[in-house]
């Protein structure tokens, strides 16, 4: 009798575990992949504690940073933990959660998120970031902080339990939904498409940093200090702003203030708007659209950025190390994918899908 009871309790537990495993798989298949897959692969495919540098931020981070180039040049492992329109609050909580999985020496934040101060500019964009994260206390804190004052609990629940919303996506599943996101680019998003722009004006004025930016900046600084992680910022260049010159000017003013604020706090910040000549950025060939770098522009920024990281932090070259062969093997696939992508763009076949990733 007692044995039977123990057997039953055990079988219920095993069944529940089985259920949770299947549930997670099914939920991922049903989830909308756009925008969330690089965060998902960060958690589910990158080996624990294997990254030296984590880049974070919005689309400017993933269009403008290509970790495989870092590996090829210096043998440093890195990843872009970015999501469309990521605001600084999201960056903070995501950082707090990500360092439980990886303990990088350096976190480099692309600073556009500091301009994005509205708690939720677009709730869909927050959802893409959250969809990639496993359920955790940090994820719930992120959701509550961003959404609680605007949305009811019922509206917030799908952010924590994506199944609630995505289960009804089943009629539109396609084969891509069953594949895991590609991990080859390590979070970067290389684009060959080119649009030509005149050089934008150089702005030197400043504008006061939004209060929210300051709050989360301080939280980030504290978090990195406590966890013994070096924090730095970088600002990829713009050729202008989609919403007009005024917005561009305002953004540059914020960037200038951010640079100053961080300098006073002893946090490095590289503003590439002021290094255009040094890195030989060409506004006629280095942008995919007015706000985002294509692969040409990104490589120019990356040469400088990776060199800076290599010289200023004690990063190690892992290329000859045993545990890192997967990164070396990856180079060939990466080069091939890039070449394919380049050819497609050359013959104008690059799909012109206006998707979430085009976002700031």
């Amino acid at each position: 009798m007692r044995r039977k009871r123990i057997f039953r309790i055990l079988s219920v537990i095993i069944f529940l575990v089985l259920f949770v495993i299947v549930y997670q798989k099914v939920e991922r298949v049903l989830s909308l992949k756009t925008g969330s897959s690089r965060i998902y692969t960060f958690y589910h495919e990158e080996k624990k504690d294997s990254l030296d540098v984590v880049f974070m931020g919005s689309s400017h981070a993933y269009y403008g940073t290509h970790p495989m180039e870092f590996w090829k040049e210096y043998g440093v492992t890195s990843y872009v933990l970015g999501s469309p329109l990521q605001n600084i609050g999201t960056t903070y909580y995501l950082m707090k959660d990500a360092i439980k999985r990886q303990h990088p020496k350096v976190i480099a934040v692309e600073g556009f998120c500091t301009y994005h101060v509205d708690k939720v500019k677009s709730d869909r964009m927050l959802q893409t970031a959250m969809d990639g994260m496993p359920l955790s206390l940090n994820k719930i804190q992120l959701g509550e902080d961003m959404l609680a004052d605007q949305f009811t609990l019922e509206e917030r629940l799908p952010y924590y339990i994506p199944f609630l919303q995505y289960h009804s996506r089943w009629p539109e599943l396609d084969s891509d939904d069953f594949k895991n996101g590609s991990n080859i680019y390590k979070g970067g998003k290389p684009v060959f498409k080119t649009r030509s722009f005149p050089a934008p004006p150089i702005i030197t004025e400043k504008e006061e940093l939004p209060e929210n930016t300051l709050i989360y900046l301080e939280k980030m600084i504290k978090l990195c200090e406590e966890n013994d992680i070096e924090l730095m910022f970088y600002l990829t260049p713009f050729a202008g702003a989609r919403d007009g010159e005024e917005v561009y000017i305002e953004l540059q003013k914020i960037y200038n203030s951010l640079e100053e604020y961080l300098r006073e706090r002893g946090i490095p910040c590289i503003n590439y708007a002021s290094l255009v000549d040094e890195i030989e950025l060409d506004f006629s060939s280095d942008f995919k659209d007015i706000g985002h770098l294509n692969i040409n522009g990104a490589k120019k920024v990356n040469i400088h950025l990776f060199q800076y990281l290599w010289e200023n932090y004690s990063l190690e070259d892992h290329r000859e190390e045993k545990g890192y062969t997967i990164w070396n093997d990856n180079i060939e696939i990466y080069d091939k994918k890039l070449e394919d992508s380049r050819n497609k763009t050359a013959v104008g076949k690059e799909t012109e899908v206006v998707d979430l990733e085009e976002q700031d």
Binding site: R8, S11, F15, L18, F19, V22, V26, L30, L32, T34, R124, E155, P158, F163, L164, Q165, Y166, H167, S168, R169, W170, P171, E172, V354, D355, L356, E358, Q359
Partner: protein, 354 residues
């Protein structure tokens, strides 16, 4: 009432009485439980039993299948058609009516299954409320299988006190009509509910009156009443008669119902079944097909119930891998195909860059 009839003792313990009145699994829409069944159970101890939990959970799952997979998905379609019935051809109206029959069964039946299942987990036995109603072979039989707790309630507390069938034929017919019209009013204070109840009453009165005629026909034509095809014909005829009443139940008014019935019989264009209109009635093609598959599953389950095949018992006899596989498939079937949560609207996610 039951105390007066000496069917049960008077409960003097207010707590137990309150619990009886508010027993949560059935409070909202579940089976209408009599004191002689439930009140007695409240006083008895209910030790936790694994078997009860297992079959209770499965029953609840079946209830959710009926409610969120079938009823709620079909509701989208039926609402679309019935609320805009002038835009649709008779064939579409007929399809929507047939689907409404499934919807209303699954809605009530689903609630009942969930309530009975939840109660069973705690060790309580509630009465069965729906017994494969659409496999009834007469309207009277339908009412013995449909919302059984309500029908028997009306029988015991209205039909029989009115005299039942003890006071002559005419009085019996009157009583039947009164009971069904009252039942209509119980469902909602509106004329179309009254007519719905009335028609059901009239069906039974006509059925009774015609009984000798039918007996004669059977005799002359040498019909074997146990014959499958004869039974099938009766089941189909009953289903269609019941469907006619559902039009009054669902339509927003009596005039709407009359127009819908007229259009079903006059504006028939069976071509509509093949030109894709059915996939544009509020649920897309894949969902419509999923609903059809689900109705198939429901039909199999109901036929088994009808034939007294105990599916759950058979399942529990299987090996563990098979049982678990069935459980998981069933749970995810409901989780994925159920209509709940904020709708995923792809349009909501399309961002126009320029």
């Amino acid at each position: 009432m039951d105390v007066y009839r000496k069917e049960i003792y008077a409960e003097k313990n207010f707590g137990k009485y309150a619990l009886f009145v508010s027993f949560f699994p059935q409070l909202v829409a579940g089976p209408i439980e009599r004191s002689k069944n439930l009140l007695k159970q409240i006083s008895v101890k209910h030790p936790f039993r694994f078997e009860n939990m297992r079959s209770g959970l499965l029953l609840m799952l079946f209830g959710y299948f009926q409610k969120v997979v079938l009823a709620d998905n079909i509701a989208t379609l039926v609402n679309q058609v019935y609320d805009n019935y002038t835009q649709y051809d008779g064939t579409v109206l007929a399809v929507a009516t047939l689907l409404f029959a499934v919807q209303i069964y699954c809605d009530f039946g689903g609630y009942s299954s969930i309530a009975i299942g939840a109660a069973r987990i705690m060790g309580f036995n509630l009465m069965e409320n729906f017994n494969a109603p659409y496999l009834a072979n007469s309207v009277a039989d339908f009412w013995r299988r449909w919302h059984i707790s309500l029908s028997t309630w009306f029988r015991d507390y209205l039909y029989i006190p009115l005299g039942g069938n003890r006071k002559g034929k005419l009085r019996k017919y009157m009583n039947l009509l009164v009971v069904f019209i009252t039942s209509g009013l119980w469902h909602g204070a509106s004329w179309h509910f009254v007519i719905w109840g009335g028609i059901n009453g009239i069906y039974q009165v006509i059925g009774e009156i015609m009984q000798p005629v039918r007996d004669k026909a059977v005799e002359i034509l040498h019909i074997d009443r146990k014959n499958f095809s004869h039974q099938l014909m009766k089941i189909i005829a009953t289903f269609l008669l019941i469907n006619l009443t559902w039009v009054f139940f669902r339509a927003n008014s009596v005039t709407d119902a009359c127009t819908i019935i007229r259009n079903i019989f006059t504006m028939q264009n069976p071509g509509t079944l093949f030109d894709g209109v059915l996939y544009n009635l509020g649920i897309e093609r894949q969902k419509f097909n999923m609903v059809l598959v689900s109705i198939g599953i429901l039909a199999v389950i109901d036929i088994c119930k009808f034939k007294n095949i105990h599916l759950m018992g058979k399942l529990f006899k299987q090996e563990i891998w098979f049982r678990w596989f069935v459980y998981l498939c069933a749970v995810f079937y409901v989780l994925i195909f159920g209509a709940y949560g904020p709708a995923f609207d792809a349009g909501q996610f399309i961002y126009f860059q320029f």
